[in-house]
Point group: D2
Chain length 342, copies 4
């Protein structure tokens, strides 16, 4: 059985592991001040074309979201997000636990729009309500979709006009960048947002997200915040090594592209059987809508999760591929589907 439950079921890519093994007995300074982190920062700065960006390595995504939001907002300020946004739904109130409201707006296919941001701004008038100060988007989104250059540009524009910080959650940024319909380069993206992160955990790292501040004024004293929120691991050099390895030879993008291809194959299977999707499949998360009687079997065979009832007879199930997904496992899925539906 191969599990499509998520993209963090395996350890780390062999190239990362290799570097970890090779460097295991080095003595390195703690807390992210070591040479591996510094090297990885350089690689990232080169890649994104932003030599002055301030970069920090954080163990996980929820932590990064919580840290960025609580560091940049004053107590009375809120963050606007899609109602399906990770911070709104799946972080057990981590943002609210730092004191801030998440203003959740309806979003088609997980994508926030300037119109939704506008509506949130118009609704929040005056000191009896929270003050919108940040916009949070995910790319790829929680539904596997991506933002186009035009869409991100439009969001950027409304943010600029209204003094909103634009924060892009890139837990699955690799999947977005290597999506066939993507028209945004990493350096274009970096110029359109104020702060974003390059997700490692879900694209081949053992753990770690690379947080990039595109505006220097936003990261003042950020390491204090990291320490306070317990996001500054003693052996921070391990995080640096992840990105050192992943950013060699374009590995990061290659892994993501592989995951997307595997997902495309999987989506094809469902399409061939005439199934529709909860959101248009384009990255490594796909959401086919299947007859209820298939759910139990699919879950047992493939560990797919996030089953939402679509109507009385149909359920949406999530399949996630990763850098480690093999063509054989997709073949097995095809055979299984053919068998079950013949």
């Amino acid at each position: 059985m191969y599990s499509f439950v998520n993209d963090y079921s395996e350890g780390t890519h062999p190239k990362v592991l290799e570097l970890m093994v090779k460097s295991n007995f080095e003595q390195n300074i703690g807390y992210g001040l070591d040479k591996h982190c510094e090297n990885a920062r350089g690689l990232i700065r080169d890649w994104i074309g932003m030599p002055d960006s301030d970069i920090h390595f954080i163990p996980g995504g929820t932590q990064t979201n919580m840290l960025v939001i609580s560091s940049l907002l004053r107590p009375h300020q809120c963050v606007i997000a899609a109602d399906t946004g990770h911070i709104n739904v799946h972080e057990t109130g981590a943002i609210e636990a730092t004191g801030h409201k998440v203003v959740a707006m309806p979003a088609k296919y997980g994508k926030l729009t300037p119109e939704a941001i506008r509506a949130a701004l118009d609704y929040h008038v005056g000191e009896h309500m929270v003050q919108p100060k940040m916009v949070y988007i995910s790319n790829s989104t929680e539904l596997g979709t991506i933002y186009t250059k035009a869409e991100l540009g439009a969001i950027r524009e409304i943010c600029l006009k209204n003094g909103l910080i634009l924060f892009l959650d890139g837990a699955r940024l690799g999947a977005a960048l290597t999506c066939k319909s993507n028209d945004l380069s990493i350096s274009e993206l970096a110029k359109l947002v104020d702060v974003f992160y390059i997700g490692g955990t879900k694209n081949g790292a053992l753990l770690g997200e690379a947080l990039v501040f595109c505006r220097e004024d936003l990261s003042v004293d950020f390491r204090y915040m990291m320490k306070q929120r317990a996001a500054m691991p003693a052996k921070g050099f391990v995080l640096g090594m992840q990105f050192e390895a992943l950013l060699q030879d374009n590995l990061y993008l290659k892994l993501a592209a592989h995951a997307n291809e595997m997902a495309e194959e999987a989506a094809r299977i469902f399409k061939e059987h005439g199934f529709d999707f909860h959101a248009p499949p384009c990255t490594n998360q796909i959401f086919p809508i299947v007859p209820n009687e298939l759910v139990k079997g699919l879950t047992e065979e493939f560990g797919c999760l996030d089953q939402t009832k679509v109507d009385g007879n149909h359920t949406c199930v999530r399949f996630v591929t990763s850098w480690a997904t093999t063509p054989e496992s997709i073949d097995y899925l095809r055979k299984y589907m053919n068998h079950i539906l013949r």
Copy 2:
């Protein structure tokens, strides 16, 4: 140059690394619900002789402290700690950031006493002051000292009588348990506290602390809290593997014993030169008091930190050994000292 700056400068012990490499391509369930974590929990339960204890793996020590304290206290309650306690000094206010006051009491050699706890209780009277509800101690302490069975028993007693939860920070528990003057077994210790953790990061793990709830009623919904405080890594199985490996063949204690021996050797060097110590050396952290003119050289050669001025002419410097410290590095320290002081 060998750095004695801390006990988390290297990666992980080869046995841990071996297991990580071997298991790297397994698919495991996320968030600590996997078989490695379950296996590690069993090994810990056997070791501590507490088959019903509830055990969770947390990435780091600050995170564990913050989690335990914020989960177990109501908003108006405080935790009593030694003034040198890690939570009071070196966590950038992580505890206060969750809303709780740390009531810091003067403590000789980093050790809290029943008298100090009594004083804190007597001082806090009524609803205009925070309500003491927890006692936090570290073993070994931040000054490298340890609690005897009698001392821990006396603290336990005052806690029981006053409805205080007793929480033991075991970031360096291995060092305490293998200290030559220690008279507490792990199972005795577990019976004397309400909740404690077995530190991995500072004793051979890549990262990870094993948090043990000795009273089941204390851990209700604890995983919600872990998620909210961003302490539930996606690849939680990596944490499980650390303890799986460390608890094989007594490795955990062997590593700590080695670190203690290396520190004992180092302490001997300073003693031979007639130097005194800020706290009696007994585990893997020692605090020799040296003439000011030696500080620069020692720092450059050995990376020792935490330099506190003792008087106009003397400074206390911290040397920390680890599972990875070699006898050769101690020899080098001896030669250096002999050379510099001849």
Copy 3:
């Protein structure tokens, strides 16, 4: 000009003022431990028929909401409210500032339903999401509507079955109890909820809300929480006096009934002119929908606020009456409307 902007534009009812003046030079113990508070507690207990209820006087409504919610929830727990609920919209994130998410559910006419609570419970599954633990309702609601005995009973039932604490915000409880269509007595209401408050500020008091814990286990150490959240005024006896006076001779209900009657008259005027309402008018807040061209004049003449666009041509405006509203001011409104619409 008479302002209908809200029900807290004047000072306090003459009977309250009289008691304040009469008692001004008494020496009273601070912090709500005085004889006036004790007397007021007794009057409330008699009125609600709950001799063992624990009662506290809090300066304001936002403070009471924030206090109750933050005292009764553990960090990972959330409160379910109508999307129009005061805690969700008009408290500048006071609840989130204490760390808790407000889960807002769509609500017709400001009233939460068992179905909406059920939906919130069904949506929140497992430790990656906040845990519903409390239901917050307002009676009368933010739209001036009220809960029937059957409706409150049904909410009570789903709360009991699911371990949810039921908290009723009674900032305008007088208006609800004296509404002509009300079928709930105060003692019935007290038996159906876990904690509620009797609003003073909006019904004749200078300031103050009387918070009633109907279950003793919920108020353990509550005074600590009051002090911590700055809700325990030094001259707490002033709060006690408000309720002492308001609960004499049924004054509290008489004042609310008067406000409702004035609102009924005002509603009649709008009905006579053929206007519809955003929610069925029944207490002291009414929401007529008027042609846009009337809004400016109404605002200038009557200070009515909360103007929401209903469609391109119509706007909903809020008129609020109080114990101090005179029949003359209603007459003036009638004349104004007749004049403007003749």
Copy 4:
């Protein structure tokens, strides 16, 4: 019996009450935006000689402290205070509940010194510790002492040099300003601090503190914070009226001077009997040290509180006078002491 337990046992000064009665039926805008507040702001600006200061009326002292500190600090920053400071001891952790550590420094007679501030700055080095950003002092202090112009100037200097915000808690500012040994005018004081408040509750008001921002950049969006922390009462005009009345004809200072005189008389009685004081008596709080056998009687007759054991035989008791203390009650104290000690 007359109680010397504190300075907030009575209602409000007749002049304040008179204004409240006179204005009771006016309709005023809510939330502190009314003409009484505006008028009071003008009177304060004139008095302190700072026409551009931003002034807000807050119901109570704990609330003001919590608001100022949580509004002006970023999450990783702390406030330095005397160990006897109100925020450190008597607010049930209200400051920590907003996420900030209070760094308490030893202080003689309740007064913080530049040396103590220097020590706190020197101790907190780097991102593993909280970052000092504010200094909190009380004038008069919790021990009834006051700061001289030179002392406040020296504190100001160290704050300026180190980027620290200087916040002065003036809950008993009247007592300080009218102390015979005081050499600071209100306008000098206002120039030496960044933010301070003029306490009403403890000097004749029913409730209310007037918070003054001496630097405009510090109060951006402060009303959002007031609302969020539940410090913006609906009938805010009541707070404005307090200061409107108290600032007429120098009433505020007259009341404070009276309280000080009464305390001076009371202190004289204890001195005549040869008793010493815990801190030099100079304002309306005095702390005579009396033989233990007197404590019970004094407490019963005069309600004095805050009894701290000084040695086996002596106890320090607090006597507080107010604007309402009568010469007759001081005479009674004299007779009582003469009788008991004859």
